[in-house]
């Protein structure tokens, strides 16, 4: 903890014991059993839960990223390509959309996503990569080689 002034370095116990405890009880209001209402148990449980919350803030993005990747993969599979092929094809075509944008397009704008898949497919096919799926040659894609 950072103490920026001398005044803050002292143990600030708050104005009133009741309201100091209320601050803790507000955080423990959804706990189970006596961890909700008994202060000496609640303060320990709140400290513990705040530690979990700190760790969870990072872990949450791993889960969300997994969901995005799964969504891109399933949308790409509808057009016969895998997640890996789409990502590789788009990167080689210098379309640097991130996971969130691609997943949003897959859900809300399927036709836009399909055109992106077509571009990725064409690029992957041009470069002769083996990760290509069984999609037929897409129509109306303008690429450098043609």
């Amino acid at each position: 903890m950072v103490f920026q002034t001398v005044a803050l370095m002292t143990r600030a116990r708050g104005p009133d014991e009741f309201w100091r405890k209320r601050r803790i009880f507000r955080l423990s209001s959804h706990f189970r059993g006596r961890f909700r209402n008994c202060y000496s148990m609640a303060i320990r449980a709140v400290h513990r839960s705040l530690q979990f919350a700190t760790k969870g803030r990072d872990a949450k993005y791993d889960i969300i990223r997994q969901i995005w990747m799964n969504r891109i993969d399933s949308a790409a599979m509808e057009h016969g390509l895998t997640y890996k092929a789409v990502k590789e094809g788009l990167t080689r075509s210098e379309i640097h959309l991130n996971h969130k944008s691609l997943a949003d397009l897959a859900v809300w704008e399927p036709r836009t996503f399909k055109s992106l898949v077509n571009i990725a497919h064409e690029r992957v096919k041009q470069d002769g990569l083996r990760i290509m799926g069984y999609l037929k040659a897409p129509a109306r894609v303008l690429s450098k080689g043609k």
Partner: protein, 178 residues
Amino acid sequence: MSIVRRSQQWGTFARMWHVFDATWQDPYQSSQIIAKYLLGRHKPISHPMNRCGDHVVVINSSEIALRGDEWQMRVYFHHDTYHGGASWTKAWELHKKDPTMIMKKAVYRALGNNLTRHQAYARLHVFLDDKIPLEIQQNLSSQIKQLRPVPQRLDQISPEELENFPQIVKLPETYVLT
């Protein structure tokens, strides 16, 4: 909500019925794909809190193929909670007893251990042959691609086709084909 939007909602979240032909397929590998459909992971709208899993009807589960010596070596464990109540059943024995059991257990395991497993497993329908009840048959609208093509057996090829098949050497009349 307008009728168009409402029907769009119905169309998005409607449960589809897929059929999977288990003939000559590895149940443990195909269960990974079936689990994906049961949990709705094959849809772009999939989310752990989103109920978008589909129904999967597995047919011909008596015709599954296990790899290598797995019929003898794979063992299913059961304990009836009494002393000495442990029992180990080999895969071929279980398959003889119930031809749908190996497929069901494989999918049950592939669904993962969380609260969605029970509901997803209820959407699985396994049949030992291709005879499906009519009310299930009427729901089917899609087919899941098999992992590998089913090979053609020699006794399934017609005698005319065998006669006309080009031969490298001309066998003598007295040569007996076994």
